[in-house]
């Protein structure tokens, strides 16, 4: 790589070196391609290693079916995660009740009902709202939505299930929009043309042709939204109210699996039961999202094999 490399002969040999390195580079590329699997696997293994310290001493029945979460109790610590699990579930369901209709509706509107200018604008706005960091969403819920909830519902606290659900719904809607827009785009135009030639209106095309044709893709989009909602941490940590209980109304504060890890990992010293149990919860979360993602993938794959 010195001045000599400017002469033709030298450049030629450099070329030769680059070409000779091709097998090495190809192996490097292969390795990088497999890296994602490697990392998913190592995430699982590393967390499992630390969590496994707790496996012998943990009462699994209590872990899954008890609502008592008292990890710091000196006398008799309890590690029941049922309330946390129900918290995650309720927040996710509420978020999806908001995000799925809005997201699907917006995707259909963007893909079928509006002109190209409106379409571009909406797509850019959706993309930008997907880029807003989760901690900012959490901040908005904490500072803006919470006082509104107190004012309009008379709840004693504004950071509760409803707040977390709204924030999480707004957060996970963009991903549903972009995924389901892709799914609608994947329906061949010939389907639309056939429907138009039969005299169908746009809504009839959407309702009778696109929904059946793209239903797996749309379902997968919602599932990815679910996966995102389950795994969301900072926004839920700041908006959900952080009380370990099974919610009975929309205005009850809840606590989720993710928020528990985020808030308690710093307080629990490494090498103790509490720390290990938090990693076990991490493992549970990993398994949950893995399951949701695999189901989404299988759902989409179904569509592919049908078409081909």
């Amino acid at each position: 790589m010195n001045t000599a490399s400017k002469t033709p002969a030298r450049r030629f040999s450099l070329q030769a070196v680059v070409d000779a390195a091709e097998p090495v580079i190809e192996w490097l590329i292969r390795l990088c391609g497999w890296s994602s699997i490697l990392f998913v696997f190592s995430i699982f293994v590393f967390i499992l290693i630390i969590a496994s310290n707790a496996f012998g001493k943990l009462d699994w029945r209590e872990f899954f079916f008890s609502t008592e979460w008292q990890p710091d109790s000196v006398v008799q610590p309890h590690y029941g995660t049922l309330a946390l699990f129900v918290g995650t579930l309720s927040v996710t369901v509420l978020a999806m009740a908001i995000a799925a209709p809005l997201g699907l509706g917006a995707a259909v509107f963007i893909s079928e009902f509006c002109g190209s200018k409106v379409k571009e604008t909406l797509k850019v706005l959706v993309e930008l709202s997907a880029a807003i960091p989760s901690v900012v969403w959490g901040f908005v819920g904490y500072m803006v939505i919470a006082p509104l909830i107190i004012r309009y519902t008379g709840a004693s606290t504004g950071i509760n299930l409803l707040n977390a659900g709204i924030i999480l719904g707004l957060m996970s809607a963009p991903i549903i929009v972009s995924m389901s827009e892709d799914a609608l785009k994947a329906v061949p135009d010939s389907y639309r043309e056939a429907a138009v030639s039969l005299g169908a209106s746009r809504w009839e095309i959407v309702h009778r042709v696109l929904f059946p044709a793209a239903k797996n893709g749309l379902l997968a989009a919602v599932l990815l939204g679910v996966g995102r909602a389950i795994g969301e941490t900072m926004a839920v940590l700041m908006c959900s109210g952080h009380a370990v209980n099974i919610p009975h109304s929309l205005l009850d504060p809840v606590r989720t699996l993710t928020a528990t890890i985020a808030s308690e990992l710093g307080e629990s010293p490494a090498g103790e039961m509490h720390y290990w149990v938090l990693f076990t919860i991490g493992l549970e979360l990993f398994a949950l999202t893995f399951l949701v993602n695999v189901i989404a993938d299988v759902v989409v794959k179904g569509v592919r094999s049908e078409r081909s």
């Binding site: 590329i29 290693i49 917006a106 509006c114 901690v135 900012v136 707004l170 700041m238 695999v294």
Partner: protein
């Protein structure tokens, strides 16, 4: 009962009015499934009158079927547009509100000053520097692996189970909850380097960024037409030569877009760095070159996202303005970088040659 038959009559009349030719041919009901069966019998009473008036007035007035269709169309359009609006409007409203609340403190000095008096005064310089280092290092680590991974998926991988496994791996890595990435960082990188540090946090962020970079690279590569590759192969080039000289140069814009987008995501993440390197507070020199390079890789650092979380929930007595200011700086940073990415993509699309 009277009202019902009345309506049926009107309906029949309208139908006939709409299709005069069909009515004259004596098959008025045969191809309009929407009309009720009873209407058909009463047609004979009023048909003559309806024909003569409605047909003359407007032979093209819509049938009930078409009216219902149009009404549904309008309702659907309105509802769908409303849902798109409901998605975008709160975001815009919130952004505006944040900027308005933060307006008094926003300024160049807010960016360049360090947090002071237990973070209740001053600006966001130290967190800003920390975020910059975290993002830069994570990108340095993730971009090469991610881009080569995308190359593998698009150029090398065949249509088989192995490719499917890799693609599923990418999806799953993208779907791993951010706090679980944080746990992984604690278990792997912090354990390796001994303590929470810039390096450990950057590695965690890098693992998290990987799937996004892989996906966007793959998309950018797949938009290069197959004919380009075939032409190159026909000249006797190997696969790697083709990629190096044809595929990558033609997709560099798309790849760049994806990488830039990843910057915004890495800058905004909090959960993964919470326990792997981000600190509540760290002093950074106020002046001189040291304020730009205050850390060694083994130190912890402040980060903007973490700073916002701290201000909002951990520190007592922070004025609203400073909190909103930190939020606006973080959003402004991500949106500005993101707009660059979107603008770049539009520019590239506009001058695309194929």
């Amino acid at each position: 009962m009277n009202a019902v038959s009345d309506r049926a009559n009107k309906q029949a009349g309208l139908l006939l009015g709409q299709r005069p030719a069909a009515a004259f041919a004596g098959q008025s009901e045969s191809h309009s499934p929407a009309s009720p069966a009873t209407a058909g019998e009463r047609v004979s009473d009023d048909a003559g009158e309806a024909k003569s008036t409605a047909a003359v007035e407007n032979p093209f007035s819509p049938s009930p079927l078409e009216r219902r269709k149009n009404r549904r169309e309008r309702i659907a359009q309105w509802l769908l547009g409303y849902s798109a609006f409901m998605l975008v409007a709160p975001v815009l409203a919130i952004l505006t509100y944040l900027v308005i609340k933060a307006w008094p403190v926003l300024g160049i000095s807010f960016l360049l000053e360090n947090p002071q008096k237990f973070m209740t005064a001053g600006g966001v310089w130290a967190p800003l520097v920390g975020t910059f280092f975290l993002v830069a290092i994570s990108l340095l680590l993730a971009a090469p692996i991610g881009i080569l991974g995308g190359v593998y998926l698009n150029e090398y991988a065949g249509n088989n189970w192995a490719t499917r496994a890799v693609a599923l791996g990418v999806t799953n890595l993208a779907g791993v909850p951010s706090i679980v990435h944080g746990l992984f960082g604690v278990a792997a990188f912090v354990a390796l380097t001994g303590r929470p540090s810039v390096l450990a946090a950057s590695c965690t962020l890098a693992v998290m960024s990987l799937p996004v970079i892989i996906t966007s690279t793959r998309e950018a590569l797949s938009s290069v037409p197959m004919a380009f590759r075939e032409a190159c192969w026909n000249m006797g080039a190997t696969r790697w030569q083709t990629i190096r000289t044809i595929v990558l140069p033609n997709s560099v814009g798309g790849i760049l877009t994806g990488v830039i987008f990843e910057v915004t995501r890495a800058a905004g993440e909090t959960a993964p760095i919470l326990y792997t390197g981000a600190l509540l507070f760290k002093r950074v020199p106020d002046h001189g070159w040291q304020s730009f390079f205050p850390y060694s890789l083994n130190d912890g650092c402040m980060a903007l996202s973490m700073h916002l979380y701290t201000l909002a929930t951990q520190v007592v007595g922070v004025s609203d303005q400073i909190q909103y200011g930190a939020a606006v700086v973080l959003i402004g940073l991500t949106l500005a970088v993101n707009s660059v990415s979107i603008g770049l993509r539009m520019y590239l699309r506009s001058r695309k040659k194929w």
